[in-house]
């Protein structure tokens, strides 16, 4: 084999998105006959991921695909990789400003934009007026922070009629999110007009709680459209979400890596589009596989 590509994933198995990404990446790798892949998983643990990059450098791989558990903390080790002459491709979620000079390329969605999209959906769904609660991802994680920031900033700027009455973390966990929503309902009752959940997995948890409390007319907006979310949109109980395919995410990351290995020129930032989806345009999209 000509090339060895080392991959360290963020946290495979924590949700279907990351898992599907992992499977897609491995599948795609087998399609390149001259490539051998070493796919590791950091389990969401920064220190472990640093160790894994170290171990990949130790094995003198030809390129590293990195899905950072944290944008800042991986910067020094990425710098080290660069010093050792190994190109680093960041996937899914970008690393810090300062690290930009050491990476060869980034490929993934723009999570701030996703937050904005969600805000636009929410604004549209509530006709520019109402009170929403927000269920965020695991505290401290970049995607969670970005989606929250994009959502909040955009609402404040472009949709002043919609206000956020509380935010609590749902930890990317459907059961936790359901619990949080139950407590929101106890506290705010019918004052709630909308729910923003940082992914559909948690959004469905919120939907469960809403159904159980027998509340009507609450608009739920999620992100990373999951199959359950897709079905719920179709059924009309879920307002909208943002489509993001882990398969294209993975394929894009690998394609760029191959280009780099083959010596082709690549763009530094390679965002792929993550369109909004609602009942109105749902037929344009396939049901997600996860």
């Amino acid at each position: 084999k000509d090339y060895v590509i080392g991959v360290t994933q963020n946290n495979v198995g924590v949700d279907s998105y990351q898992t599907t990404y992992d499977i897609a990446l491995k599948d795609t790798m087998t399609k390149y006959p001259n490539v051998e892949g070493i796919v590791l998983d950091a389990g969401g643990n920064v220190a472990r991921q640093i160790a894994q990059v170290q171990d990949l450098i130790q094995q003198e791989v030809d390129a590293i695909i990195l899905w950072p558990t944290n944008g800042q903390a991986l910067t020094p080790i990425v710098r080290k990789a660069k010093q050792m002459g190994i190109p680093v491709i960041i996937t899914n979620s970008n690393i810090s400003e300062k690290g930009q000079e050491f990476i060869t390329a980034f490929s993934g969605p723009n999570t701030i934009t996703q937050g904005q999209y969600a805000a636009e959906l929410m604004c549209e769904g509530l006709n520019g007026k109402g009170q929403v609660v927000q269920i965020t991802g695991q505290p401290g994680y970049q995607t969670a922070i970005n989606r929250q920031k994009g959502f909040e900033d955009s609402l404040a700027a472009d949709c002043p009629g919609v206000s956020i009455i509380d935010s609590q973390p749902g930890d990317w966990n459907r059961e936790k999110s359901q619990r949080v929503m139950e407590n929101f309902i106890t506290r705010f009752g019918t004052k709630i007009d909308g729910v923003y959940a940082a992914d559909d997995n948690m959004g469905i948890g919120a939907l469960n709680a809403i159904k159980e409390a027998d509340l009507k007319n609450i608009k739920i907006v999620g992100a990373t459209n999951f199959a359950v979310g897709y079905d719920a949109i179709k059924e009309g109980s879920y307002y909208g979400s943002v489509v993001q395919s882990p398969v294209s995410d993975a394929i894009a990351a690998l394609a760029i890596t191959m280009k780099i290995l083959n010596g082709d020129k690549v763009e530094k930032d390679n965002y792929f589009d993550t369109p909004k989806v609602t009942l109105a345009n749902i037929d344009e999209f396939e049901r997600p596989v996860f």
Binding site: N45, Q72, Q142
Partner: protein
Amino acid sequence: MRWNNFNKLKIQPIWFFVLILIVFFSSTSEYFFEFSNFKNIFIQTSTIGLIALGLTFVMINGNIDLSVGSMVALSASITIGLQGYGLGFSIFAALLAGVLFGALNGIIVWKTGVDSFIVTLGAMIGIRGVVFIYTEEQSFYALDFAFSDFGSSSLLGIPSLVLIFLFFSWLMHFILSRTIHGRNMLAIGGSRTASLNAGMKIGRHLMINFMICGFLAALAGITLSSQMGASTPNLGRDFELWAITAVVLGGTHLKGGSGSIIGTLGGVIAIGVLRNGMNLLHIPSFYVLVILGVILISVIYFDSLMKNKMELSQ
């Protein structure tokens, strides 16, 4: 007899595993048995290692400290967050925070009689909250690479972080085996009543060990943040479990009364070698979990077999 000698040298059975693992991985991965890889292993284990050193003391007393993981995050955040005032100051502040929160844990255990498990479980949640309040959920990063360059620097070919870890291992070993404090530690863990009857100041003693543990956890936070040139508020989650595992693998009993730094060192390195080796062998991540668990259990199984043998040969 053979076992007897080992016992005299106080070599814990865990070291045989380290040996076995090294032989195994050396023969299965071409990258394993290299100086640079051992450097990596040591750097990788130094974080959990420092924590485990402090935990050994607390656990010999028969207590436990679950707040170490959160302490790592707090100290890392302070180190990076206050670097504007000079690195020396920020490191001092981080260590001070470690000692103070350790003292707080200790004082509560001492003065209220609440089980240390509860006290430090509370602190694990609460200190994490303090971290998020202080950082406002943000990751911090170092202004330049000077700090992370230190993290990857070497002295006489040995990484500085490894030297720090080895120095503290030696120091803790010295305290445990040579000083009055060390002897009292084993006595208090072995029998509260006997220690009380002997007139020891148990409460104060326990508190000192919590402070040492807090200090070392804070130090681990500093060394870890120097590897990352950054801090994240989620740093150190589940570190407590791995550190405790290392300590127990090293022969310290949860109920207290026995334990050694050399054993803990063995436990730490066993886990480090295992993780490193599995990375090098490219084992799929789901299977890593299964293998890790199975090996952990087998280690403790063989450990008990060996201990039985030693007992018999005496």
